[in-house]
Symmetry: D3
Subunit: 125 residues, 6 copies
């Protein structure tokens, strides 16, 4: 099985419709970017056996909180984290911990993004 | 029990000598910083029940890899992750995943820090 | 006096209502974060004698301008800076200086945040 | 010829009206910042012979994509890149390459900024 | 031809020995990372027709200068830039321009890295 | 008086020899960068009347601590801060405050840079 197939399969585990959404989101401007997202993060990284999807989504939330300038992606991954079984409490814990490492402003902004993600019905990535 | 006591207790779970090391490391320049580290990250954050210490250390590794300019702290937390039960493989997985979110150069530098941490005998934080 | 009481007192010096606002802002999602903000930045850091509140608020403005992705916090601290006695000119000077250290785009964005803060009636943090 | 004159001349090569726009954009809050932008980036940097304007605009797009928190400036420089002769394809390529170095979230956000820049009629800087 | 083969071919254009060096550099700690570097940056990104290798290496130098914490990768890419035909002057120009966008300290540090790269005999990536 | 002369004068206030050091430091690789440093940060920014040199050096220390990857520049500016009259205690306070805004790892690294700066005899910028 190649990376693209493996990526679609991993995405299906998170949300059956996400593969299509990624391709539609980028088809007018950079369709290869959609292919890369499916092949590399989902086909090569999330699909690896060493860590489960719950832990991987929390690690992504930690990284995006630390970066600070990626709130649409953070919101998507909070939705993904919920879908693979993280509780709201675990997501909030991961963000709170970032106050120590990335500073209070980034943790605060990520909490507000989490509040938005918890209350809307957006489908995530 | 106050935050300082809780922090020392959490630190003892990771490594019985780490509380003393933190205080010694900062006593000449900023002893209050040592107290803060014990009270806030370890007394208020790592000691919370919502996530276990293994997951918390992996989240810290994700954040420090993403920041890129904190390799002494990254090395310390790789030592801590090993002490609380993470395998080398899990630590490497957490770093590899950051290639997607923080870029290849930061993931590469963190891998080299992990190699150094795996091979030395330094006690961590 | 403990850190929480000291934090509320420091916040009262800046704006008598800010302690309540912080607690309300976070009570639904992470009330411990509100307690931490009161205890740590305001109870442990801003309350220290080594630098006055005016200088401390300018340092925070420098840090948030440099980070670039924290404009709600930057706007809050520009309000706080005005309340503790900084002039608009001093705030603009602190931001302009960041063009050298953080680059022109971040300084420009912070200037636009300052313009918004100067013209609105929002109460700050 | 001094830096201010050289800067206005370089700006005229990109767009005859941009010098005035920069001065108007900042005249109420920090007119010296407008002078600095004209004198330093455009009078001292873009006007240098070592690289052509097309390459320079792509380099700026790479830097702003990497920073992640400067989308208004990124949008301006995408407009500038188009004006000095970059194709949409070259701009997209420069952004896609940043997925490797700055991570997928920053490249994605920059692609969405590029889409907005390609479809609007805003005049750029 | 698959991404791995395309990546090796692109790397051969830069330096015939670099593919082996990448694999050796990571074989003890994360051999999949070596495969990813060959497949994704070199097999999928640098090999694309939209921009030439010279421009791509300058874009990478701009991104790494902006990040500030990736000097080993910056040194490697300065070597690569020289190998694909960039002059020292063009590399210095790309770095100098970053003073505007990423601030003077990062541009200065990148200049010192460039000086080291220009004077040593290290083979790059 | 032009920016270059004003810059040299400001530098002389900090340390009579620093102008020469800057020019020597860059004469082989980018002499225009030396001229820019004298003209722009020192001729246009530090020389402005709105904030005194002590406050300006503390703001620079806050920005460099927040960036995290600029420790040579941080060490230089700690030397400069001492020369224009900041006490060691004020410098340490400015760094400690950054634990809140930029996270504990960056504040810790800056404290270790400060310790080095306090104990060596290096002349600063």
């Amino acid at each position: 099985m190649d990376s693209f197939q493996k990526g679609l399969e991993t995405l299906r585990e998170i949300d059956p419709l996400s593969g299509d959404r990624i391709m539609k989101m980028l088809e007018d401007i950079a369709p290869d970017m959609a292919r890369w997202i499916i092949e590399f993060p989902f086909g090569e990284v999330y699909s690896r056996p060493g860590l489960d999807l719950k832990t991987r989504e929390l690690l992504t939330i930690a990284s995006l909180t630390t970066q600070g300038a990626a709130s649409p992606q953070l919101e998507n991954h909070i939705h993904n984290a919920l879908k693979v079984g993280c509780s709201r409490g675990e997501i909030v814990e991961a963000i709170l911990q970032m106050a120590v490492y990335a500073g209070f402003p980034k943790a605060l902004n990520a909490l507000f993004t989490a509040r938005a993600a918890f209350s809307d019905k957006a489908p995530g990535l």
